[in-house]
């Protein structure tokens, strides 16, 4: 056997080993290491000694099933990362558990893999988890994999058994268009076709497991895709204001114009920063964790996705997804979850459960009101504020997400479709307008410094006769008294002028008035004002109206104040809620406090005013 490989590896590849419980995954990994001389000196002997001591038969699996509990039960509980070098490549082998109880561990292992080996026991044949794991690999985006038919020694190394399994399993995979690179008959225990070709199966001419590893390719195409740069954080440790993040697709160069979605803010890359890199790089590409500075101090925050203008991500408040659930309690409609996509976190809800996917029989359509642990489902999710994303068929990292239930990551999935929402038209209008917007030499942060505040809108919602106008006037007065630049934008005032050409008989009368109101508000916000809106209801549902205005003024900070009669629930996205008769002065002061908290009103700190750029 070849000795421990000493050549210097050029690259590293993550491989996950999956398959039904007891089909021999850990044994295969142990054998692979032993037969390639990759085990540290004395490791085999140490495990053999422990087995002898406990009067157990030696198992190769014990080499990596390190926990006492695992060895006692002869089962893998959690994935192990192990390393070995072969033919100029380093492999990180992730041995996943097969028991359905530990599916979340298998998923954690498979999610970081670039290729997979899926094991099927020749004697037991295709089982429940063989199918589930096969399906999940595809969902998790692991498209490179080989199927290993193990324990051939138990079926007399017969070709017909192998052929039967191959046919059955290929048919199953074909339903979701997954194609294995190889089907390999092996005996992990005996070492047939693991590192050396077996003399027991001359009918098989294909590669061994070890050969197959070498055939897996390192994926490199991501940097040829359009740019995706999810913003991770904004740092101001010294004079530089650095936007940090990891490029998930494409390339970025000094001088590139970037668009941030969903805010639509644009700026030019001024530098790519680094520590202990000389000269600083002029370009960076997919996979790299970088920091950049921009030519303009725009307000952008963690979670936005930077791209080039000719290929921006999708934006919506609803998406159709395929999701697998790992939560302790079932996924249910009506419960609040947090969706995390790249660096974005946004509250979300399940709008529709279309069906539960039975991985044993994909043709089955199962309706359900909830998704249980370890189930896969097709859903429509609705998020609380616009989400920038891609379809998983075109971008890996920005096309998938996880759901957090309370403290725990409980589900993961891929986005299969954009679901159109009402705001789509206005969102596109806002996007095009922002791109085309021309500015003078005065930047928004110059205004903010001069005025002592950032621009924002205080958006009042609520049904008629709840005191909205009254409170709005107080807020305007209080702000101006505090030397801030505020303006009460009264919706009625547009009717005789800007809206004079509209006819009340036109079915789009109300929504067109809201659109114009929103555009006027956007204009005033660009002058650096704090706009206090008393838009009343324009004859349409106030919630819908508020959403339209939000879409148009985005990304300016919106402070949503809801006024209601006692006992009413405020709409989603409400920042402050006042119910019933009020002490209006106290309420107005509370709104000012909220403006401070959100970084709109700049607090003089010492002699230097400090602007908070990311909230």
């Amino acid at each position: 056997m070849t000795q421990h490989d000493q050549t210097k590896p050029q690259e590293s590849l993550n491989i996950v080993i999956v398959g039904h419980v007891d089909h021999g995954k850990s044994t295969l990994v142990g054998r692979l290491y032993a037969d390639t001389g990759s085990l540290p000196e004395g490791k085999l002997e140490k495990v053999q000694a422990i087995c002898r001591q406990q009067g157990k038969e030696f198992e190769y699996a014990f080499l990596f099933d390190a926990f006492l509990e695992e060895q006692e039960q002869g089962i893998t509980i959690d994935t192990a990362r192990t390393f070995f070098i072969w033919n100029g490549r380093q492999y990180i082998i992730i041995d996943a558990p097969g028991h359905k109880e530990f599916l979340k561990n298998m998923i954690s292992g498979a999610a970081r893999a670039e290729a997979a080996l899926l094991l099927i026991d020749a004697l037991e044949g295709v089982r429940e988890q063989s199918k589930k794991h096969g399906y999940l690999l595809s969902l998790l985006g692991v498209t490179q994999f080989a199927v290993v038919v193990n324990k051939m020694d138990l079926v007399g190394y017969r070709q017909d058994v192998f052929d039967g399994i191959e046919k059955e399993y290929r048919e199953f995979l074909g339903q979701f268009r997954a194609v294995p690179q190889q089907m390999i008959p092996v005996s992990a225990k005996m070492g047939d076709n693991i590192a050396v070709r077996s003399g027991n199966m001359n009918w098989y001419q294909g590669p061994t497991v070890l050969d197959t590893l070498a055939l897996f390719k390192k994926e490199q195409v991501r940097s040829e895709q359009p740019l995706r740069f999810p913003l991770q954080d904004v740092y101001k440790f010294d004079a530089r204001r650095i936007l940090a993040g990891r490029i998930t697709a494409g390339r970025l160069k000094v001088g590139d114009q970037l668009v941030f979605s969903p805010s639509n803010k644009t700026a030019v890359v001024q530098s790519i920063e680094g520590f202990n890199v000389d000269p600083p790089p002029a370009e960076a590409q997919a996979g790299q964790s970088v920091g950049i500075t921009l030519d303009e101090q725009i307000f952008v925050e963690r979670g936005e996705i930077a791209s080039h203008r000719d290929s921006v991500p999708l934006v919506s408040t609803a998406v159709r997804v395929n999701l697998f659930w790992m939560g302790r309690r079932p996924l249910e409609k009506g419960r609040k979850y947090v969706l995390r996509l790249a660096t974005r976190e946004v509250p979300c809800e399940v709008a529709v459960i279309h069906r539960i996917i039975d991985t044993a029989d994909l043709a089955q359509l199962q309706e359900s009101q909830s998704v249980a642990r370890n189930q896969v489902a097709e859903l429509t999710l609705r998020v609380k504020s616009p989400l920038a994303f891609d379809l998983s068929s075109s971008f890996e990292s920005t096309g998938r997400f996880v759901l957090v239930d309370e403290y725990d990551i409980s589900g993961g999935g891929i986005i299969t479709e954009l679901v159109h929402d009402e705001q789509e038209g206005l969102r596109e209008e806002a996007r095009q307008r922002e791109y085309a917007w021309l500015t003078g030499d005065v930047r928004s942060e110059d205004r903010a410094l001069q005025y002592g505040h950032r621009a924002a809108i205080v958006l009042f919602t609520g049904s008629a006769q709840t005191g909205k106008t009254f409170l709005a006037r107080r807020v305007e007065a209080l702000l101006v008294a505090d030397s801030r630049h505020a303006y009460l934008l009264e919706g009625e005032n547009l009717l005789q002028g800007l809206d004079a050409d509209l006819s009340a008989a036109d079915p789009s009368f109300a929504s067109e008035r809201v659109r114009r109101y929103g555009e006027v508000a956007r204009l005033l916000i660009d002058t650096g004002l704090i706009v206090v809106s008393t838009s009343k209801t324009f004859g349409i549902n106030y919630q819908r109206m508020a959403e339209m205005i939000r879409t148009l003024v985005q990304p300016a900070p919106v402070i949503a104040v809801h006024m209601s009669r006692a006992g009413e629930e405020p709409p989603p996205n409400t920042d402050l809620h006042f119910a019933g008769p009020q002490d209006f002065d106290a309420a107005a002061r509370q709104i000012l406090e909220e403006l401070k908290k959100r970084g709109v009103l700049i607090q003089p700190s010492g002699t230097k005013t400090h602007i908070q750029y990311s909230i």
């Binding site: 000493q6 540290p40 990596f64 192990a80 999610a111 740092y235 940090a244 964790s289 996880v402 993961g412």
Partner: protein, 265 residues
């Protein structure tokens, strides 16, 4: 050095996630090669700054040269260094002859737990690598510890696609492991590539021995080696089939498994 760059990118991403999500964050620094690389990666992630304190759990049995090195680097890199020690146990005469597990638990695990509790840290960054031993091979990048600091390895949270466990109930904390995917050779390759200052205890200084792993003086043995440069260490490691921690007494039998379930790093 493409694979080093990939490892660096992933570790930097993890460090930035940790910094974003944890208000009470600290990094454990033992002055060994791993945690020094970790410290360097923090400077990479934050452009020369280290925006959280570095904790050194001082057992009082460390090799004196380590303390000199610690203080020099802390000064030069302007680090916020916090030293913790289980003074009570030391006053009561704790040492390795009373049993290695007992000693490690008292002077390291418990000293760290006390420090974490006292200062209210909710995130601790450690330079643990998966290839060190078979329990570390099963770690997550973000690994929760319960109220007693214990590790429930039977029920670890899912971790997928760079989405980590960053929310947790009060009273518990998260261990963060940015170096999980690094091997011992990767560490040395990176030290060379970045020219990171390290302690010369790792080199043969003329007597034909060097330290491969640094712990407490009584429980860490040098190995036979004539490697006098980082390059020579790398060549030696490529040939070697001896486990890295073979010179560390804790790793015998199930020692490490027991220690780590109880919260050992």
């Amino acid at each position: 050095m493409k694979h080093l760059r990939q490892l660096e990118d992933q570790s930097v991403y993890i460090l930035r996630e940790a910094y974003k999500h944890f208000n009470h964050l600290a990094m454990l620094w033992s002055m060994g090669k791993d945690s020094t690389v970790l410290l360097w990666l923090a400077r990479k992630a934050f452009f020369g700054h280290v925006p959280f304190p570095l904790l050194h759990v001082d057992t009082s049995y460390k090799i004196p040269a380590m303390i000199e090195y610690r203080d020099r680097i802390a000064r030069e890199w302007r680090l916020n260094l916090v030293v913790g020690q289980n003074k009570e146990a030391l006053a009561a005469g704790m040492n390795h002859t009373l049993g290695r597990d007992v000693c490690c638990t008292a002077l390291k695990t418990n000293a760290m737990k006390n420090l974490v509790e006292e200062r209210g840290y909710t995130g601790i960054i450690l330079g643990v690598r998966a290839d060190e031993d078979s329990t570390r091979a099963k770690e997550r990048y973000f690994s929760p510890r319960d109220k007693h600091g214990d590790w429930d390895f039977r029920d670890q949270p899912p971790e997928l696609w760079d989405q980590f466990k960053t929310t947790f109930p009060p009273g518990t904390h998260i261990r963060i492991h940015p170096l999980l995917d690094w091997t011992e050779i990767n560490i040395w390759e990176y030290i060379k590539h970045e020219n990171i200052p390290f302690m010369d205890l790792y080199l043969d200084r003329g007597d034909g021995t060097r330290y491969r792993s640094l712990g407490c003086a009584p429980c860490t043995m040098p190995i036979k080696s004539t490697a006098k440069t980082v390059d020579e260490i790398i060549v030696e490691l490529r040939k070697s089939t001896v486990a890295e921690r073979a010179g560390r007494a804790q790793d015998a039998g199930r020692g490490m498994e027991m220690l780590r379930k109880k919260g050992y790093m």
